[in-house]
């Protein structure tokens, strides 16, 4: 529907958007405040950013978080893409309803429940088969679980919109179904796959609750360190760290969004061209 909307709707929309961004913008502004007192503006300074570079604990946890995020989003993209192919292309198979439920439930399941149930599984597994010990492995497994849900939903809608006749044409020309999928459909859904990798990466990088349960005593991810600092109140050092993370993650999301939109546009253009040639 494309109609001019009323002044009331416009006001609510833009006020809502402004309020969504206000806290982040003030946070970034205050991260450049030279005063250690959070409510007094001193002068412009980058002192808190340089201080971050000398915080060993922070750097180590940031490294662990990055490693986890790369491993988890890669695993989630593989599993999520497979799940979306199964759900879109195979109309009936045993376990279809179960798979549908299991890819959608993590989207709404409170993290605290997922966290504690997964921890109890890992601990019980260690008792029986001696694996996996809490730390990197368990954090990655947990993150793959909820990231897979987001990947499946994203890729699923793109795959459902992809034109199957192109793939059928490839098969008429002698390609095997697997080959036709690989050469024709995979490039079409590639933007969705890449952007869901980026989104999984940011989700994994942000997770506090599930990681806290499954990490065990030895490992601390970046959000766990930040949470313990934030519990003590607002501090300029955390402001600087938060600004860096918000900007980096925001950039990831913008790239992901851009890829999706560009993929849409290009597809629309190609369809138009094809229609003109037909």
């Amino acid at each position: 529907m494309e109609r001019r909307s009323s002044a009331f709707l416009q006001t609510v929309l833009y006020t809502g958007i402004a309020l969504l961004y206000l806290p982040i913008l003030t946070l970034i502004a205050y991260s450049f405040n030279s005063s250690p007192l959070v409510n007094v503006w001193g002068s412009f300074s980058t002192v808190w950013y340089t201080q971050l570079l000398h915080n060993r604990q922070l750097l180590e946890s940031a490294l662990l978080s990055l490693e986890v995020a790369v491993a988890a989003s890669t695993g989630a993209v593989v599993l999520g893409t497979l799940a979306s192919i199964a759900l879109v292309r195979f109309a009936r198979f045993p376990g279809r309803l179960l798979l549908t439920g299991m890819v959608n439930a993590p989207l709404v399941m409170p993290e605290i429940i997922t966290g504690i149930t997964q921890l109890l599984l890992f601990v019980s597994m260690v008792q029986v088969i001696g694996w996996p010990h809490r730390g990197f492995t368990t954090i990655v497994i947990s993150h793959v679980t909820f990231c897979t849900a987001y990947v499946t939903v994203t890729v699923q809608s793109r795959l459902a919109a992809a034109d199957r006749s192109l793939e059928e044409a490839a098969m008429d020309l002698g390609a095997s179904p697997a080959r036709a999928f690989w050469d024709v459909t995979l490039p079409i859904i590639m933007p969705a796959i890449v952007s869901s990798w980026l989104l999984s990466f940011t989700l994994s990088l942000d997770d506090l609750v599930i990681s806290s349960f499954v990490a065990g005593p030895g490992a601390s991810t970046l959000p766990m360190i930040i949470y313990s600092k934030v519990k003590l109140g607002v501090s300029p050092e955390v402001n600087a760290l938060a600004s860096l993370i918000v900007c980096a993650v925001g950039a990831c999301v913008l790239v992901a969004g851009y890829l999706m939109v560009r993929g849409d546009r290009r597809r629309a253009l190609e369809t138009q061209l094809a229609a003109r040639h037909a």
């Binding site: 909307s5 205050y30 799940a83 199964a86 549908t100 439930a105 149930t117 497994i141």
Partner: protein, 296 residues
């Protein structure tokens, strides 16, 4: 059952199916089992529920104490009620704010829609924990809001919002608003504008047409959005823990304290199972509408 399924297809179906079964669904069975255990000073800190005796007999050692404890200690009942109430009113406010926003986006020119959606989604994907922390900078006694209001002479004493129930509401609405806007937009966008024209031709005022046509047709979006806000909000931990005070005990926080503070894993497992039963209804509604939407 489909017998035409080529064996190669199982290579696609099985990896995600087995992974999610093993690491998402089966964990609930373990939590269920351990909710009947006893806390003991041991690694791991709970007694065996199902085990082989030295005589090679299978033994079931069930303790109902954890559930009895949930029923008798009123902290749990109050926390459940408080969580449900907070999540319910937050969902209603998100709906009241989110509906006009989604409607405005659905009516915006196509070229602006993608940009507006991205602007709404960007905060959602960007660090939840840090956004809650950023909110603290706005609402704390010497924060942005109070500084501005007092500077303008509207207030003489700062508003005490931090560590109150109001702060928890602000936090939940601020964090979950995008979840409400997106599904609402998805249904409002699909709405056929000729229906509204027809209503107008038949003499409906715009507000009448909205109530009779737009609102009923957008109900699936309302339900999807409401569930996406309500279910995670009931289990919210970060917001009540950082913004709320000692009185704002939501169930997520009680579970966290039981686990990390008291180290009572069996009681924490029982809280989680009881909590899940409470959420079974809303999750079933969400799944039902989801499957229906995918199939249409």
């Amino acid at each position: 059952m489909n017998l035409n399924l080529r064996p190669g297809r199982w290579l696609i179906i099985l990896p995600p199916l087995i992974f999610l079964l093993a690491f998402f669904l089966i964990p609930f069975a373990f939590a269920f089992k351990i909710s009947f255990a006893q806390a003991i000073p041991h690694v791991p800190p709970f007694s065996e529920v199902l085990y082989f005796t030295p005589q090679h007999r299978l033994r079931l050692d069930v303790h109902l104490d954890n559930y009895r404890y949930l029923l008798t200690d009123e902290v749990y009942g109050l926390a459940y009620l408080y969580s449900l109430r907070t999540a319910f009113f937050s969902t209603v406010i998100c709906l009241l704010v989110g509906y006009p926003m989604a409607y405005a986006i659905a009516r915006a020119p196509k070229s602006a829609q993608n940009l507006l959606l991205l602007v709404i989604m960007l905060p959602f994907w960007t660090s939840f924990l840090l956004r809650v922390y950023a909110l603290e900078g706005i609402i704390r006694d010497n924060g942005f809001l109070n500084t501005v209001l007092m500077h303008l002479g509207l207030l003489h004493e700062p508003l005490h919002i931090m560590h109150t129930g109001v702060a928890v509401y602000i936090g939940i609405i601020y964090s979950y608003l995008p979840f409400m806007v997106l599904p609402l937009f998805a249904t409002l966008e699909k709405l056929d504008p000729t229906l509204l024209e027809a209503a107008a031709d038949l003499g409906s005022t715009p507000s009448r047409a909205f109530l009779d046509v737009t609102l009923p047709l957008s109900i699936p979006g309302v339900i999807a959005g409401a569930m996406l806000v309500f279910i995670p909000a009931v289990g919210e931990f970060v917001i009540p823990s950082l913004l709320g005070g000692p009185n704002n005990l939501m169930i997520g926080r009680v579970l966290w304290d039981e686990f990390f503070g008291n180290h009572d894993w069996p009681v924490a497992a029982a809280v989680a199972i009881a909590f899940l039963l409470l959420l079974a209804g809303p999750i079933a509604i969400y799944q039902y509408y989801n499957v229906k939407q995918i199939e249409s």
